[in-house]
Symmetry: C2
């Protein structure tokens, strides 16, 4: 799969994918003519990248996950540990969101929400 098709399927530009390659988020083989060649699973990986990113993980963090996955490709334990760690992060974020939600909900319908709180 060449970069154009990958870009279309992953919903990003070629430039973004080249940038991701530069920072180690994706790796492509090269065809004899120099064109990048990606396996089809890269689409799923890039979708995962987008998701993780919108949830607040930096590209560096995401790349690290990818690397660890590459380093321990057959150690189910290492992977489980990695994902459990991510789950804790996600849980913490969800708790924060729930708190904010409650805070917001509590103010709905009251007379003077946050009014005094914005210098």
């Amino acid at each position: 799969m060449r970069i154009g098709e990958l870009a279309a399927q992953a919903g990003m530009t070629r430039d973004t994918i080249r940038f991701y390659e530069k920072v180690g988020l994706v790796q492509g083989r090269r065809l004899p003519n120099g064109y990048r060649d990606f396996p089809p699973e890269t689409v799923a990986w890039l979708h995962y990248v987008r998701t993780a990113q919108t949830l607040g993980f930096s590209l560096a963090e995401i790349a690290r996950t990818g690397e660890e996955l590459r380093e321990h490709p057959d150690t189910a334990e290492a992977l489980s540990a990695l994902f459990e760690e991510k789950i804790h992060v996600v849980d913490a974020r969800m708790a924060e969101l729930a708190a904010l939600r409650d805070e917001l909900a509590a103010r709905v319908g009251t007379g003077c929400p946050l009014r005094a709180a914005q210098g």
Copy 2:
């Protein structure tokens, strides 16, 4: 309250607060000598800013909320609408997180999570 104390209480640097003033996130009166003077509620506002920020809202979005609050300081309905909107955003984000969490949890303990998904 001068900038140094505000910075200490809000857990950020003076430079950050000056930057926030520049982009309209906070407004300070000036003392006769030119020093900024903030009301004590600014501390709460800055804490709110930090929270909203870690939850993925940009400074521009947060500033817009603050502005709308300033424009309709006595319209309970407008405020309620604003917060309800925020709550929807938060709910959407939480749903995304829950999906990611499930995805991660499903892979824990399985033999080959994501392995094929990182070109």
